[in-house]
């Protein structure tokens, strides 16, 4: 017999599916670099067993020279095989696992708190979370980690009673290590926390505990060579605050520290200069600042993060979430110690990997925060209800909560489904598809087509490969991708060449030029002007 909570859960899942699947291929309005690269690599593996560089079933996707963990791409292989090679198929795994994450959140929260209403609320809030809805619609690895994490924790908690479930945890956490860079730090730390908090309960299932640790250990052992290889270090080098490509903020701080050292030397205080103004202190402080920036309510609610990560005039959490998060934290701390320890440790561990990267705070790199905020919000509401004894006050409180969330979520959904495409088309690199398809229609008139890979047109080769659905077999026979690097000028296939051009000098009547408007002089013979959805020029095509 179907119970009431099961019906409610089903409704929540249907809502989750709708929010994540409806118009999936057109919202966000275009595939960005990582999505296009994942899509092409997935199709290439499906057809040839090799990625765009010719590596057979790689455990690291070189992709755009960012060496992505492979699991999401392999999930996309299955999706493309089922749905065909479309934008929908490439984004589907994220949406699918986003929907499943709502389900696993329900089960996980129930295992933690043994409260059906709390579990349903947490699932509902995750279902309508702007942070989760948006990233469930992107072909990026990060959101899928939420499913594997919540599933793993659910299985772990079940395993405290029935040890066999621990094996599922090991597999889930192990797979997570091959899903996203951040989980390679987060999951091992979370595992240590789980072992520490629940050690006495785990020791009753020694056999399964050791088997699980062995399985997880195999994943770690397989991961270690990747981590310490040059390829594994490339992503870190490309995004860390220590690298040459550090942020302007860190660069300015370094200059300030150098100036302080000089000031100290001029005052005969060379020793203090070395002691107090070393780069170790600078980077240490910067890491701490980056870490705490992820707990800034401004970041959650108003956010200065990229417009690729949130809708306009809104952050990644609802405004009404804020007081409830702090209230929920209060009730969490005063509740069960183990549960509080787990949730708080989860929240404290999440920003650690992102703290060594530039561009902090970063919504994408800390998606694994979810669903802790939703759990806190649910806790606050359930406990408030527990405090209120009079029925009519409960009803008023319930109406207020419903009203506030209706307004907040209504605003988000309006901004997302009505305005977001237009507001963010520049950030989503809209126009590359149109440029590729147009070039293909006129290709026969030209000997070569040069695409200028600069600024928003960087890595242009991946867009043309993806949207033209260029046969991977043929592409690999031609040599495949030379490099995904941002300054690479040697990529080419068919008549397409991806390198800088000087329109005035290179023009010969048999060449088609594709680039940003700034690359063309006033007298250029523009065949097509492609605009972003807000009307500003995106890509020009000329001969």
């Amino acid at each position: 017999m179907i119970k009431k909570h099961q019906i409610i859960l089903l409704i929540i899942l249907i809502l989750a599916a709708f929010l994540r699947l409806w118009q999936l291929s057109v919202l966000p309005p275009s595939m960005e670099w990582d999505e296009a690269a994942t899509g092409y690599d997935a199709y290439s593996i499906l057809k040839t067993g090799k990625d765009q560089f010719g590596h057979f079933l790689p455990l690291t996707m070189r992709s755009l020279d960012d060496y992505k963990p492979p699991l999401y791409t392999y999930l996309t292989v299955g999706s493309i095989a089922f749905f065909g090679w479309t934008d929908f198929a490439v984004r589907f795994p994220a949406a699918f696992f986003g929907i499943l994450a709502v389900l696993t959140t329900y089960f996980m929260v129930y295992q933690l708190f043994k409260n059906r209403k709390l579990s349903l609320l947490a699932a509902l809030f995750l279902c309508i979370s702007p942070w989760h809805v948006h990233f469930s619609r992107l072909a990026l690895e990060t959101n899928t980690t939420i499913f594997f994490t919540t599933f793993g924790i659910w299985a772990f908690l079940k395993g405290l009673d029935k040890g066999g479930y621990l094996i599922l945890t090991a597999f889930s956490f192990g797979l997570n290590l091959f899903l996203y860079h951040n989980t390679r730090v987060f999951i091992p730390l979370l595992s240590v926390i789980l072992l520490t908090i629940y050690f006495k309960d785990l020791w009753k299932h020694k056999k399964y505990l050791f088997i699980s640790m062995l399985i997880f250990g195999i994943f770690i052992i397989r991961l270690l060579p990747i981590l310490f290889s040059i390829e594994g270090q490339m992503r870190f080098q490309g995004t860390s605050i220590f690298s040459i490509a550090k942020s302007i903020n860190v660069d300015n701080l370094q200059k300030t520290y150098i100036q302080w050292k000089i000031d100290d030397q001029q005052q005969g205080l060379s020793f203090t200069g070395r002691l107090f103004h070393s780069e170790k202190i600078l980077f240490g402080l910067q890491m701490l600042r980056n870490y705490f920036s992820h707990f800034d309510p401004n970041f959650w609610v108003f956010t200065n993060d990229s417009l690729r990560h949130h809708v306009s005039e809104m952050g990644i959490l609802y405004l009404v979430d804020l007081p409830l998060i702090y209230t929920g934290l209060y009730f969490l701390i005063r509740g069960n110690k183990k549960t509080a320890g787990l949730i708080i440790a989860w929240m404290l561990l999440t920003p650690i990997p992102a703290s060594v990267t530039r561009d902090a705070p970063h919504a994408l790199r800390t998606t694994i925060f979810l669903p802790t905020f939703q759990i806190l919000v649910s806790l606050a509401i359930i406990n408030f209800f527990g405090f209120i004894h009079r029925k009519y006050i409960k009803q008023v409180f319930l109406l207020i909560i419903i009203f506030l969330y209706t307004i907040n979520s209504g605003f988000f959904l309006h901004q997302y489904f009505v305005h977001y495409a237009k507001d963010s088309s520049l950030f989503w690199l809209y126009g590359r598809k149109e440029a590729a398809l147009y070039a293909e229609t006129v290709k026969s008139r030209y000997d070569r087509i040069i695409v200028y890979p600069k600024y928003e047109m960087e890595q242009a080769h991946i867009f043309f490969l993806y949207y033209l659905k260029y046969d991977p077999v043929k592409y690999l026979q031609e040599g495949g991708t030379v490099s995904g690097g941002w300054a690479e000028n040697r990529n080419q296939f068919d008549k397409y060449q991806f390198k800088p051009f000087n329109y005035s000098e290179d023009r010969d009547g048999r060449t088609l030029f594709i680039g940003l408007p700034a690359e063309f002089p006033k007298e250029a013979n523009i065949l097509k002007r492609i605009t972003y959805l807000n009307g500003t020029d995106a890509v020009w095509i000329a001969d």
Partner: protein, 290 residues
């Protein structure tokens, strides 16, 4: 008792020496700076007294006094002409006296008297200034969140551009573990709802600071320092008590304490060497009392 005087002595040693040299200032302002430094020392004593009265915990009150004594923002404000520093001392004095007043009428009368004195010694408080152009709702929310953000509390206090530290937060970054532990203990043991009236004043100051038309060029938030002091003191007190239980905890605590000392030496170096250099380069002494 002797420990209280010792802490007051330390506070005096930090706030009085070289008063018109660090940071550099006009000789005409020296008297005002002495008054500010004196207020700073008194406020350290008052914080200790209030916490001792409310919690009956002498160790906690001493730790609170020490923390406020060494707090970067409090040191910085005690060494310049600062109406808000004097205002804080007045509020603390009123808070201490409040519990001993016999009747409600006395409390109201004293409140009125203190408000007038507060207005006289802190005329730059934005409500008294006559400029009531409030920020927008979105700006206010952003300001509120900024004032409780880690960045502001521990890394960059930019509420007072003219002469403010900026390179440091309200507290040293090393205070973070103690602060977080203090917050946890307040939730867990103190009972947030039971002591809600204690936090009412904090909420009032927090909101007043956020809606200030001069934000971030405002120092009203300085008035919440006693709360931050208490939270950190609670965390430190708990750490000290736990360090007595096992050797490993003692070693960890001593290491942590040594790190705090290193950080404080780093702050002192910055304050005495680089801060005054920056002030010399940036500041126009002739225009305001500093």
């Amino acid at each position: 008792m002797i420990y209280y005087f010792l802490i007051l002595l330390i506070a005096s040693c930090i706030r009085f020496p070289g008063l018109n040299l660090i940071p550099p200032g006009q000789s005409a302002n020296l008297v005002l700076r002495i008054f500010s430094a004196f207020s700073g020392v008194i406020s350290v004593g008052l914080v200790m007294l209030i916490i001792k009265d409310r919690t009956k915990n002498i160790s906690l009150s001493l730790i609170s006094g020490l923390i406020l004594c060494f707090m970067p923002w409090h040191i910085e404000q005690s060494r310049v002409v600062s109406g808000v520093n004097s205002g804080l001392t007045l509020i603390l004095f009123y808070s201490w006296v409040y519990w001993y007043l016999p009747c409600r009428i006395c409390k109201i009368f004293l409140f009125a008297a203190f408000t007038i004195i507060f207005w006289r010694i802190y005329p730059s408080f934005w409500i008294f200034s006559g400029n009531w152009t409030l920020p927008t709702f979105t700006e206010i929310m952003g300001n509120l969140f900024k004032l409780i953000s880690g960045e502001f509390l521990f890394f960059k206090n930019d509420t007072f551009w003219r002469g403010g530290l900026r390179t440091y937060g309200v507290m040293l970054p090393g205070f973070i573990p103690a602060f977080m532990l203090g917050i946890y203990l307040i939730f867990k043991k103190q009972g947030f709802i039971k002591y809600a009236k204690w936090y009412l004043l904090f909420i009032i100051i927090w909101v007043l600071s956020a809606v200030s038309p001069n934000f971030p060029e405002s120092r009203e938030y300085f008035l919440i320092l006693p709360y931050l002091t208490f939270i950190c003191a609670l965390g430190f007190y708990h750490l000290i008590e736990n360090s007595k239980k096992r050797l490993i905890f003692r070693i960890l605590f001593i290491s942590y304490f040594m790190f705090i000392i290193y950080e404080y030496i780093l702050f002192t170096h910055f304050y005495t060497v680089h801060y005054q250099q920056r002030i010399k380069e940036e500041f126009q002494y002739a225009k305001i009392n500093f």
